[in-house]
């Protein structure tokens, strides 16, 4: 039995830890494990009771529709975010009691900040942006699907694999304690032989392959599948940011994969890449990791910039000011982001010359980001701004993100960096850019595109309250960390001795509760909106007087997106059509549409790679080998089978499109003043469009 399960033993099951030896620490650990297990059981039971298995399998799990895959990514992001936020609240509670110790053990504390970082970056941020890119790219460039729909599904499977492994560490064994960066030799076999670092390695490497393939897919889609007339400089800005993110994904994921696999070789096979002895060099790990890690920051933030760009021009009813500058700025960021990685370890022994070079490069990358802020401000200038939920997020983003950006410029100076490195100042800085930057962008984006995806708007009042809670909660939780950081509070320390930190930590704790409320607010908003969905329906598809092609479809769009591939002759194609008074053109003839067939590939890849990662983590070698062989054999068989495309007959396309056009003809256009009212069915009056 022991051999069959590798090194996994009954003692690794954390559910019962609390019953064997009670302490607050073990109660938190076991409690988290129970929440994970019961949560899973509850979801499975709910699906069974609601008799939704067949529906789930046919409509979602085997679908290769980019829209559904995008939505699944975002759901995955929210599930993992629930865990990340819960961990954040536990950590803040600990820190509020951490004067001369706290209620968690040091080990458990270290595990918490490691999982929190890993979850939030790889399994919240990444699924969110990948989900948005999936949903929006084909719709915005006028395509029917991704270039490689099956690969797209496999990418989702691989990302889910990583998430499953991280969740498994909650129940079986423990996660690593070396932070989200997992620097060896601390995470090497000598200092942590346990399963923790292995969970990290395989979660990151396997989901990393998924991200790389996503980037490849998006890049090829944007390069090759744009609608006729959609020149590069006519693409919506979101597509530009998505393209740059995709390029970064293709080039920046390999260093992470290489670092992870070398670390695995060190741990499992006794290699000496990053060990202390026999010629190992951990600096190689630091360099590899941050060659990925710094572009990763921009991988996450660029699509959010794209969302903010679409947001400003739509909700200020103006065309984007400085489109070309914004595109150039985005491209510059993509390139320069590969030249700054060393600023993550200024203190780790390079010569001052090298530090200065990277310090200057870091300061330079702030310039294109500054360009963007001015572009957004100029777009808002003299626009007729509607202060709806997305714009509330935007307002919070503007102020808070600028503070975060400034603290980044401060950190770019190696001399200052030496003073504040490894303090809470750093924690404040990166939360300050990721939360108001990435997360506010995502939530604003959800408010904008949720009606497109599901056919009804989100409740405006609940949404605005939630947005304000996020802004206030963020400011309370993270801004005080700048102060304690400058006072010398080291990050990642389980306890502190200086009573002067305590008041700040209590403010942080209160802020964490506000953030928890804000997170709950998202679900309250969703709940209220679902209950009132009759009043919020926008089947005609254009609730915000949108400017780009995705708004020229019904909500939700049909599986095939467009009845005929649109011809594009200007930037902001849909806004131009509306300004010229000829939107919703009826196609002259309909043709059969060929769509890729459903497949269970992604699901099986997910199962097999989860088996592989789990086997490698627990040294269950037969499972790892069997998983690899099963993937190879499956792929071999798959390549020999014919996969006929699904043909949607022209009559059906015509029927769906005609019904929509007729509904528009019957509908009443709504001016922007009535945008949030119940009369908004998604037919926008063009009272404010300035197209060119």
């Amino acid at each position: 039995m022991n051999n069959l399960l590798g090194r996994l033993t009954w003692d690794d099951v954390k559910l019962f830890e609390v019953f064997e030896e009670f302490s607050i620490d073990s109660a938190v650990a076991s409690g988290a494990a129970w929440v994970a297990v019961l949560g899973l059981v509850a979801v499975l039971a709910w699906i069974t009771l609601a008799r939704r298995w067949v529906w789930l399998w046919r409509e979602w799990l085997t679908s290769v529709d980019h829209k559904k895959i995008g939505i699944m990514y975002i759901i995955l992001g929210f599930v993992m975010m629930a865990r990340g936020i819960a961990e954040g609240v536990v950590m803040r509670t600990h820190q509020a009691t951490a004067l001369d110790g706290g209620f968690l053990s040091n080990h458990h504390w270290a595990e918490l900040f490691s999982t929190h970082g890993t979850v939030m970056i790889f399994f919240v941020g990444m699924p969110f942006i990948t989900g948005f890119m999936n949903y929006l790219i084909p719709l915005q460039i006028g395509a029917r699907d991704m270039a490689f729909p099956l690969l797209n599904q496999v990418s989702l499977g691989l990302t889910t694999t990583g998430a499953i492994l991280v969740m498994a560490s909650l129940v079986l064994g423990a996660f690593e304690t070396g932070g989200w960066t997992a620097y060896p030799p601390f995470t090497g076999a000598d200092f942590d032989p346990g399963p923790g670092p292995d969970y990290w390695i395989w979660a990151i490497v396997l989901s990393g392959f998924g991200s790389m393939f996503s980037g490849l897919n998006f890049a090829v889609t944007i390069y090759k599948m744009r609608a006729p007339g959609m020149h590069y400089l006519r693409m919506p800005v979101f597509c530009w940011t998505a393209l740059c993110t995709s390029i970064l994904l293709v080039f920046a994921l390999p260093p992470l994969t290489v670092a992870g696999l070398m670390q695995a070789l060190d741990r499992v096979a006794g290699f000496h890449f990053f060990t202390n002895d026999l010629g190992g060099n951990m600096m190689n790990y630091a360099n590899l990791f941050w060659m990925f890690g710094h572009p990763e920051v921009y991988i996450l933030i660029l699509p959010a910039y794209g969302i903010f760009s679409e947001l400003t021009s739509t909700f200020a009813a103006k065309r984007l000011y400085g489109y070309t500058s914004l595109v150039l700025a985005t491209m510059s960021i993509a390139v320069i982001s590969f030249c700054v990685w060393l600023h993550h370890f200024f203190t780790m022994g390079q010569s001052p010359t090298i530090n200065v070079a990277f310090g200057i490069a870091t300061a330079i990358i702030a310039i294109p980001t500054g360009v963007k802020v001015y572009v957004w401000m100029a777009t808002l200038w003299r626009g007729r701004i509607r202060m709806t939920t997305p714009m509330v997020y935007m307002a919070g983003f503007f102020i808070l993100f600028t503070i975060g950006g400034f603290s980044g410029i401060i950190l770019a100076n190696p001399a200052i960096n030496w003073q504040v490195h490894n303090t809470q100042f750093i924690v404040a800085h990166f939360h300050n850019v990721l939360l108001p930057g990435l997360i506010f962008g995502i939530f604003a984006g959800i408010h904008i595109w949720f009606p497109k995806a599901f056919g009804f708007r989100l409740d405006e009042r609940a949404g605005t309250i939630t947005a304000v809670l996020w802004i206030v909660g963020f400011a309370m939780t993270f801004l005080p960390l700048y102060v304690v950081g400058l006072m010398g509070y080291p990050r990642r320390s389980a306890a502190f001795a200086d009573p002067a930190f305590l008041p700040y930590m209590i403010v942080c704790l209160l802020g964490a509760f506000v953030l928890l409320a804000a997170f709950a607010g998202l679900f309250v908003t969703l709940w209220i909106s679902i209950r009132n969905r009759e009043a919020l329906l926008v089947p005609l598809g254009d609730p915000w007087d949108g400017r780009t092609l995705e708004w020229a479809t019904p909500a939700p769009p049909p599986h095939w997106n467009f009845p005929v591939i649109p011809e594009v002759n200007a930037r902001d194609a849909f806004a131009r059509e509306k300004a010229e008074g000829k939107p919703y053109v009826v196609p002259q003839e309909y043709r059969d549409i060929h769509m890729p067939p459903n497949t269970s590939s992604g699901f099986w890849v997910m199962l097999a790679t989860t088996g592989f990662g789990f086997g490698m983590t627990w040294h269950i070698w037969w499972l790892a080998v069997a998983s690899v062989i099963s993937i190879l054999v499956w792929y071999f068989i798959h390549s020999f089978r014919d996969h006929p495309e699904v043909v949607i007959p022209a009559v059906e396309v015509r029927r769906v499109n005609q019904a929509w056009i007729e509904a528009i003809d019957l509908g009443k256009p709504i001016t922007r003043d009535h945008e949030t009212g119940t009369k908004n069915r998604g037919y926008a009056a063009t009272d404010m469009v300035i197209a060119s």
Partner: protein
């Protein structure tokens, strides 16, 4: 984006609507190769930083057998050469036999490469040049092994393609797959030239 611009000239595809798909897939595969090249580049870079990290164990002069490396180079480049003939016969001849023949030569040559490489590996084990001995040897095994693993994967791919040519004939889909396989195969040659010169030649220079 008219379809005329997208016809892939290297494959002589039938004109039944597969051309656009072939273009997408070949382009996507180029992107994948770029990413893979970054991977190899990083392993090369790590190797470069670890050349001196022998920790008193076997060094470059102990693991380099130039005769064996020359043989491996000839076999791998020969395999690539044979593959390019397979690609050409796929383009210009309708009979599948000629393509299959060249593929068989390419596969045999690559298999011999792996065998000779394996003999080298065995020699390294015999003289105690195991990857657990030093940072240098870790990097050496990882770099040469990663390339060998790619060649092995390529052989599996070639086996699958042989099967598909026999089952389906030279259809557009098969042609597109063989073309991508060719890119991969020549790509591995370029990587090998890097290994040959940076690891072995520079090691004993």
């Amino acid at each position: 984006m008219s379809t005329q611009e997208n016809i892939h000239p290297g494959m002589n595809l039938g004109y039944e609507g597969e051309t656009h798909v072939a273009e997408l897939k070949v382009f996507g595969f180029w992107v994948f190769l770029m990413s893979d090249l970054v991977t190899f580049g990083l392993v090369f870079a790590i190797f470069g930083t670890m050349v001196g990290a022998t920790a008193g164990g076997p060094g470059p002069e102990d693991v380099t057998n130039l005769r064996s490396v020359a043989l491996q180079t000839a076999l791998l480049l020969g395999s690539s050469f044979a593959f390019s003939w397979a690609s050409l016969s796929m383009k210009y001849h309708e009979t599948r036999l000629r393509t299959l023949g060249w593929l068989a030569i390419a596969a045999t040559s690559a298999l011999c490469f792996l065998i000779v490489e394996f003999l080298d590996f065995r020699h390294w084990l015999e003289i105690g040049a195991v990857p657990q001995r030093s940072g240098y040897l870790s990097a050496l095994w990882a770099l040469v092994g990663l390339h060998g693993l790619h060649v092995f994967a390529g052989l599996l791919w070639m086996a699958a393609m042989t099967g598909q040519i026999i089952v389906f004939g030279l259809t557009d889909i098969v042609k597109s797959r063989v073309t991508r396989m060719g890119l991969y195969w020549h790509f591995l040659d370029i990587v090998w030239v890097g290994i040959f010169s940076m690891v072995f030649l520079a090691g004993v220079a």
